[in-house]
Assembly symmetry: D2
Amino acid sequence: MSGNTYGQLFRVTTFGESHGGAVGCVIDGCPPKIEITPEEIEADLKRRATGQSKVTSERKEEDRVEILSGTFEGQTLGTPIMMMVRNKDQKSEDYTYLKDKYRPSHSDFTYDKKYGIRAWAGGGRASARETTARVMAAVIAKKILKEQFGTEILAYVSRVKDIESNVDLENLTKDKIEESIMRCPDPVASEKMVDLVTKMKEEGDSVGGTVSLVVKNSPIGLGEPVFDKLEADLAKACLSLPATKGFEIGSGFSGTFLTGKEHNDEFYKKEDGTVGTKTNRSGGIQGGISNGEDILLTVAFKPTSTIKKNQKTVNDKGEEIEIENIRGRHDPCVLPRAVPIVEAMVALTLADHFLRQRAQNG
Amino acid sequence: MSGNTYGQLFRVTTFGESHGGAVGCVIDGCPPKIEITPEEIEADLKRRATGQSKVTSERKEEDRVEILSGTFEGQTLGTPIMMMVRNKDQKSEDYTYLKDKYRPSHSDFTYDKKYGIRAWAGGGRASARETTARVMAAVIAKKILKEQFGTEILAYVSRVKDIESNVDLENLTKDKIEESIMRCPDPVASEKMVDLVTKMKEEGDSVGGTVSLVVKNSPIGLGEPVFDKLEADLAKACLSLPATKGFEIGSGFSGTFLTGKEHNDEFYKKEDGTVGTKTNRSGGIQGGISNGEDILLTVAFKPTSTIKKNQKTVNDKGEEIEIENIRGRHDPCVLPRAVPIVEAMVALTLADHFLRQRAQNG
Amino acid sequence: MSGNTYGQLFRVTTFGESHGGAVGCVIDGCPPKIEITPEEIEADLKRRATGQSKVTSERKEEDRVEILSGTFEGQTLGTPIMMMVRNKDQKSEDYTYLKDKYRPSHSDFTYDKKYGIRAWAGGGRASARETTARVMAAVIAKKILKEQFGTEILAYVSRVKDIESNVDLENLTKDKIEESIMRCPDPVASEKMVDLVTKMKEEGDSVGGTVSLVVKNSPIGLGEPVFDKLEADLAKACLSLPATKGFEIGSGFSGTFLTGKEHNDEFYKKEDGTVGTKTNRSGGIQGGISNGEDILLTVAFKPTSTIKKNQKTVNDKGEEIEIENIRGRHDPCVLPRAVPIVEAMVALTLADHFLRQRAQNG
Amino acid sequence: MSGNTYGQLFRVTTFGESHGGAVGCVIDGCPPKIEITPEEIEADLKRRATGQSKVTSERKEEDRVEILSGTFEGQTLGTPIMMMVRNKDQKSEDYTYLKDKYRPSHSDFTYDKKYGIRAWAGGGRASARETTARVMAAVIAKKILKEQFGTEILAYVSRVKDIESNVDLENLTKDKIEESIMRCPDPVASEKMVDLVTKMKEEGDSVGGTVSLVVKNSPIGLGEPVFDKLEADLAKACLSLPATKGFEIGSGFSGTFLTGKEHNDEFYKKEDGTVGTKTNRSGGIQGGISNGEDILLTVAFKPTSTIKKNQKTVNDKGEEIEIENIRGRHDPCVLPRAVPIVEAMVALTLADHFLRQRAQNG
């Protein structure tokens, strides 16, 4: 219960520090007979990796996935699937100058207070490197959802600082998102974002923004009525990602400026005879349970804390000091790399709720 | 795992439909020897009840709490505490006209799709009546936090539709909040809110807004680094409340308009020799773990779906129909009553994380 | 996680002290649309109650079941089912002479050490009265298993002290068991048992023995390979009952006197074309998973600790004292009343594993 | 929830098939700052390995432990600890002749029925090789118990087939157990056991028996009153080991031949002023909670199913066939190697209950 496992039935436990031996996951509860290869896993990892383009950190991660249990002749067995990638450059000496310092808005201080010890070489467990393991697990979750319901999960960068995008959700495809190095499917906004991020990189500063996500062909009936409402679990899933500060489902904060009459989603009979809603301010979820409409959500990511600027702070003796220009990788904007991890958390949540629904309701 | 239990160690299971026999909870894992009386529980229930003032639903709930297990001579035993309130007016006939109809933006449709059956008399399990049980449990959670850390949890209505409040968090007290029937400690805004809500009531329409919350004397070291980050669990806690659409921790969405240099919270040495941060954009949590600063969060509540207006919808045969003016209680703005339930969910989350922290780190 | 919940998916949380307000349970995760009435629940409670015959405690329990949530028009809703029975004679004064004394082989001492407080009026949470709640929940579990697989769960008293029974498992029925007030379907042994228990009652002493159980029409494929092997969960289920000291599955301890060649169960093709085993030393479970043969198990119950004899012990100051003849109900042999609670725990375990199997394997 | 995780707070998830890439575990919830080295882990693994002596399987396992996360500079971080050993000889071709056959009393049939797929190369997930991971995790659990309470956990072979041992529990030490290749600290019985096992090996047959265990310096107050009674969790822990058929706590089955007066454990004041019991038929646990006396338990292991004899069985088409003399490793008696795995499961159980006790009761 120390928070390194996600899911009730499709259970993913991640392990690994950024500068330890490896980062990986164990998936327990995965249905049997799903085909999976290391190459499929690696394909999604590349989207999360650094060194993809000029807008991400330069350090190039090239992760080779090892699947060490839970599969046989290319298929899942129903037993725990352990997958991992080794950490390559583990030069912890590079970090000795940070050993006793608390970087502003990082987790150095709180880890020390909580555990009385921390892996000061790099971000340790708090590093975004941990999300590699989530992406690995989610590749399988996505496959299950695709096979069962034709579900597609599409995340994209919807805003960087004050640069808003304008996206046609109806015709959104993964290709349109991946065409942009910002993963923003609005070419005009994408170009402005690239310019801003390039400028931030030069200045050693950083920017944040929002990632939005749409679930197409969403299964109906997922989510549990009370504490484990689907939007509650999605909120937790997304807020468990590093650097997140906010979450919206459907109409979100802007919906609170409407009246009930304006906000309610009218039901109607669709051409195929099934029931749909004319508007989708509910974001595909009503009473905590998915209604089959697209699930729509948005996540706020703060500007990354690691900046190449001198900052005032304290050390582990409580003395006020100045921390020099933080060395090592610098990601002026995490948003393009956040896209696959938001997708991953949504996929893990839906796959888990699918199994929960099947358990209780057959 | 059907989502009616909250917490890993301070575990609250709620039960009850709005028009069934009773609504209540079982708390398992509560530390022993905490003094508790039904009267203390009832005091907080009154803040959540309808019929408090002209801005809430008229129906008067007067709940008498029965504590049927887990205490002995006024103290908790460490065994499960079962508390409940009986439901009084269970005239399900009043609802027969809704039996086969799906009210827009309610859970009628999704419950039917999920379970193949629903308690059509009132909201059933989806009714906000269920939150009564959460408030009951949270009274004990608050006591534990108060005794251990002097923690105080203060929620208030920060915005109704487009009426913003201006609140001095430094000097905020529970009394200042409770003085306003809107539970908005800004008297000017409060008055405007009352006017708006009164108007909505007359029109049979509804409004939403935001509830904000501050945790004073927050314990340090609570939260688990990865999936169970404190903000992730708080997001889930808050989004598990009916009618919520968004969540922010610390700087939230507005923080994404800053650069990293502007956003980072500088550490400094406080007068008492301990470490603090000069600003609190982190909202009291860094790397998923509380740092001792005030925890700050905001929750978006949509305008209530129950409105006294005719609306188009479908019935359970999928036929398009018009639903008449929904009878029964009508709450034009849930925000004042949402205040104690947001507090409750935060209290349950912190109490649970306190026990988790004690388990692992002594 | 304080141990008052059983099951992963068919989750039963029990509450209640013997001399508190009520004893009951909340079932979460129950499939919807199962028909259930208080009368059905009460029927099984009667088998567990005291005052059934001359071989059980005289005090007559007549429990009226209240189902306060989770059903609508006689059917389960898929939401938490809360059921309870009120405690009637709560004269805690009767127990004041025991307030500071630790009865030998009772839980008085350990509860005090664990919690620093205990409900000294009667057995409190440690009373066998708690098992009432398990029996209530199991009525629904049995129904699910019966409907899905035609499963029947038959427990009986197989030995009292050194009086062994001889039972034809092939033709065993519930009626044959219930004919005997000892719930021993061997009439000769049953009579001897009654004589022994009557003698013990007169002497104020007590006896133990074994309850055996057979599951007919056992589902195939239940149980999880590693920690949650079906026999492991059954062992836990049975050893969680008060006064139990041992557990055997299939050939049990006696099987360890055979060689591998003698012990292995040969597979063969049955007349209906399906696969069976010629012998059943495995007890219906292989590799932790049920194979469709009858599940066979035996549970050891110690002689009850409550005896009507003076005994040496200590008080809560650690002083050596003599405890007088313990007043109140005296059950010289718990075995006949243990039969329904062993059945209950097996039913809860199988129902839970059925949902787990359905979740992962469809 | 697919049964590959053990423990509520000291959570161990194991992974790995006998002929997959690796076998290992992730420990989540481990307290920080515990010193641990791969060498310490390997020391206990050797006790479980094959090829130790003439009474175990000849195949020599020499496992090199990799600790790939959760430690830093030789100390636990409080984050997930992943440890694993690679599988060496993965010649699955050796097993192709078994691909479609169900070995008697093995898990081949039930895995196929449950999952529709199985790793037919060796035992797969059902192989005792999986227990390697449990032993690894338990090394840390033992350290925690030793540091906190001076607890020592000593298991030994108490009977092989009908060869009973006679052991002085008072003066039992680990050295006395390890001196015997049977891990039976009664030299006379040990010699007889060696002779019997040698004979079985020659005959291609196998034998079972019992492993007994004593916990010295047992912590007081561990165990949860109702479902998670300490003996219930110990029973589950032990019955989750391959080839187990029975479990006894304290007086076990033999205690059921006594009367209550004979069986009760009298409390008295010990010389050091604390409270003890004169006898220990309770086996160190009363009301589900440890009382500080030695915890005593016994586990029955059936004769291993893998024998070098021709046997009748069926194949996966349901046809009756004869299975030839099973090739590969043959362990005529698992008991000596079962000793460290019984210890491991008890250590994991106690460490978990220690954290649970600390969470609730401080």
